[in-house]
């Protein structure tokens, strides 16, 4: 299981890009930390989620 924003999800084996797309995130509006390290945008397609990973997806919305 992969912990994503505090919730255990059955996402091991998926790429980060695939997970974001399936979960309805716009990749140009997020920042993703994996085990406390930022994942560079260019690595979303090659980053494979693993059992035990702790993923934080921060979604930005407009206004300021």
């Amino acid at each position: 299981m992969v912990k994503i924003n505090g919730k255990e999800e059955n996402a091991a084996g998926k790429t980060l890009a695939a997970y974001l797309s399936e979960a309805g995130y716009d990749a140009s509006r997020v920042a993703v930390e994996r085990n406390e390290s930022i994942v560079a945008k260019k690595d979303y397609g090659s980053t494979v989620l693993r059992d035990g990973d702790n993923i934080e997806i921060v979604r930005f919305v407009g206004g300021g």
Binding site: R29, A31, V58, V61, G64
Partner: protein, 213 residues
């Protein structure tokens, strides 16, 4: 016009309110405010009043009449570059804060150079994509810099939905996380200022060494 107090009098007055040890730390801190609109102009005024030693203001835009209900500009500043106009206002409010103003559009290529080695960076942009780009760049290229960003302060929702969250060690996020101006929500000055106050407060707590939210 009254006489401007001396730098020493200014420091004493701040130390009386905020404590001398903390005041020294605040005066030794530099903060880059990226975006000088509803969030950034309010963050900058609060931090200047608190005695932050150095502020770097960055915004490409000019003051519009529709900005005046929530941004720290005056009616006679419509049309001026926001960063320069804010610098002018801060000089009147808090003359001993050193302010650098950049009228430039921030992007991945100039973020590191324009934020100039600031101890703390505040993300105060308007568009979600620009917010994400700044946050991704700072977290990737400036991992030792503290970052205080914002998401979600549009609309007329409750004040108490605006929160501060420590996402990772040096990265804080303020706002309700969901209220998107793109969803045709209204924009109320009080709610934008609440979020700006959360950001400024996060900055002061980081300076104080209090890292919880």
């Amino acid at each position: 016009m009254g006489a401007i107090p001396s730098k020493e009098e200014w420091f004493r007055a701040l130390a009386k309110k905020q404590g001398e040890a903390l005041q020294k730390r605040i005066a030794d801190t530099s903060v880059a405010v990226c975006g000088c609109g509803g969030l950034g102009s309010n963050i900058a005024v609060t931090l200047a009043r608190a005695g932050v030693g150095r502020l770097i203001l960055i915004d490409f835009d000019t003051v519009d009449i529709t900005n005046l209900h929530r941004q720290q500009f005056k009616a006679n500043q419509i049309g001026l570059a926001k960063a320069a106009a804010l610098k002018e206002n801060l000089a009147e409010i808090a003359p001993y804060t050193a302010v650098t103003a950049h009228t430039r559009r921030l992007d991945e290529s100039n973020i590191v150079a324009l934020t100039g080695g600031a101890d703390i960076i505040c993300e105060a942009f308007d568009k979600a994509e620009n917010k994400a780009a700044l946050v991704n760049t700072v977290l990737t290229e400036l991992p030792d810099t503290w970052l205080v960003a914002a998401a979600g302060m549009a609309g007329d929702g409750p004040a108490n939905d605006i929160i501060t969250r420590r996402v990772t060690k040096r990265f804080y996020l303020c706002g309700d996380g969901v209220s998107d101006i793109g969803d045709s929500l209204c924009l109320l000055p009080s709610r934008v200022q609440l979020c700006a106050a959360h950001q400024a407060h996060a900055v002061l707590r980081i300076i104080a060494g209090a890292y919880d939210c």
